[in-house]
């Protein structure tokens, strides 16, 4: 039951994200946009490029979707509404997100195209720069909750959400999440102006539709993760718990989508440099800081 509800919420979320993305990129608000563009894509040929690594080419879009769905499976919408409440939930989110990278590397390698390949390897090359910044802030979050259960993480924020309790971790996680979802200005693997679509450049028709759906679901999942880890998930006055979850998730997703419009894409060297030299020390500091707070203050 909760699985069906979660998938439904994810789809609604992905739909809204697609509408938002269309609005951000074209300036027109078209509520029916995702439906027509989805239908249009399904009706077009799905071309297989010449000399593909066929298995990689075919597996990548579904794998991306599965990775995003798996990560969403452990994120609670309300106290009872979580597909599986794993004892290692917070860690599992990270494990599932690691396969986003695998999917993109496959999508980059599969079609035997230069643009796609450069895009895929760019994402792989940045791996440490963002994945460390996903897992280390989560560690600090789990420290406060003294549990890896995502539900307990939410409950630990009853007094004060983590965004306020550990703002450094929040900022780092937010930026790293944008990196995982390859949203502008961190859209290095797709880079419309530089790589003409990069890893997505060779996908057409229904395969492209799957890819775009997966990307939208991924954005929703990451926004939900931010809401669960840092914004107190379902906690909030007046409104029912699920509404709070949905509202926070959507607001985070909108912020993630809008941020990229007003800044240029980061240079790859800067992503690496800032990720390694600033992000990782800051994330370590965040763990230390949270530790001190936990031991000294509480």
């Amino acid at each position: 039951m909760s699985a069906v509800l979660t998938v439904l919420m994810l789809l609604v979320g992905a739909y809204l994200v697609a509408v938002l993305e269309g609005w951000v990129s074209t300036g027109r608000l078209r509520p029916a946009g995702p439906i027509t563009s989805g239908l249009a894509l399904l009706g077009r040929e799905s071309v297989v490029p010449r000399q593909p690594d066929r298995i990689f080419f075919e597996v990548a879009p579904p794998l991306l979707l599965v990775a995003a769905l798996l990560a969403a499976a452990v994120l609670p919408l309300s106290p009872g509404l979580v597909v599986v409440d794993l004892a290692t939930g917070a860690l599992f989110v990270n494990a599932a997100l690691a396969y986003v990278m695998v999917a993109l590397v496959m999508a980059g390698w599969g079609p035997d195209g230069t643009y796609a390949m450069v895009g895929g390897f760019r994402f792989l090359g940045q791996l440490i720069a963002y994945s460390m910044l996903i897992v280390m802030p989560i560690t600090a979050v789990a420290m406060r909750a003294e549990s890896l259960f995502t539900t307990e993480v939410v409950e630990s924020q009853a007094v004060l959400p983590n965004a306020v309790y550990q703002p450094v971790g929040f900022v780092i996680f937010f930026l790293a999440a944008m990196g995982v979802a390859f949203l502008p200005p961190l859209d290095l693997p797709t880079a419309p102006g530089e790589l003409a679509g990069g890893v997505m450049a060779e996908y057409t028709g229904w395969r492209l539709a799957v890819m775009r759906l997966a990307r939208a679901v991924l954005v929703v999942t990451l926004a939900a993760a931010i809401s669960v880890f840092y914004l107190g998930g379902w906690l909030g006055p007046v409104l029912p718990p699920w509404a709070w979850s949905a509202l926070k998730t959507l607001l985070v997703a909108a912020a993630m989508l809008l941020a990229g419009r007003y800044v240029p894409r980061l240079r790859e060297t800067h992503v690496l440099e800032w990720g390694w030299k600033i992000g990782i020390p800051l994330a370590l500091f965040n763990i230390f800081y949270v530790g001190v707070l936990l031991l000294v203050v509480e």
């Binding site: 690594d53 990689f56 794993l86 695998v102 259960f149």
Partner: protein, 167 residues
Amino acid sequence: MVQAVFTGFFGLAAIWFAVVVFRTSSMVRSALALLFSQAAIGGMFLAMQTEFLGVLQIMMMATEMAIMAIFMVMYMMDPGGLGGMDMTHQKRASQVAGALGALAALAVAFFAGWGPIAPEVRPAEQVYGLGIEIMERSMLIFETAGVTILTAMIAATAIAIKRRGKE
């Protein structure tokens, strides 16, 4: 029963992907097959209800094998495997070694005294138990290993930088 089926399934998947590692001539495929083989072992852990280890295995292997894929593409010629390079060599020796290894593993499985089956432990307690194991009894070992690896990494980087400076 279901548990056994899943464990067996993931075990077979791990073996099959491991075979693919050598059967393919594409470096990238080989690396990713290894990734999925390791992830299948993670699946086995999950099926055996060792949740923390399973998730950790699945997570770490995705990262590690992907990094390996980078190096394979960078350093190996013909990463796409178009040349149809054969990844097997020293066949006789490896066959013998494989057979002996399998025998040894089977022997251990059948003849070792495994003791009584442990009662089911809740995942949360497992995490706790693992933490106590790492942080109390084996702490010295883990800390030593960690510091050693870190030293080695820094030393390796330092060597590389020095050499580039000379050139």
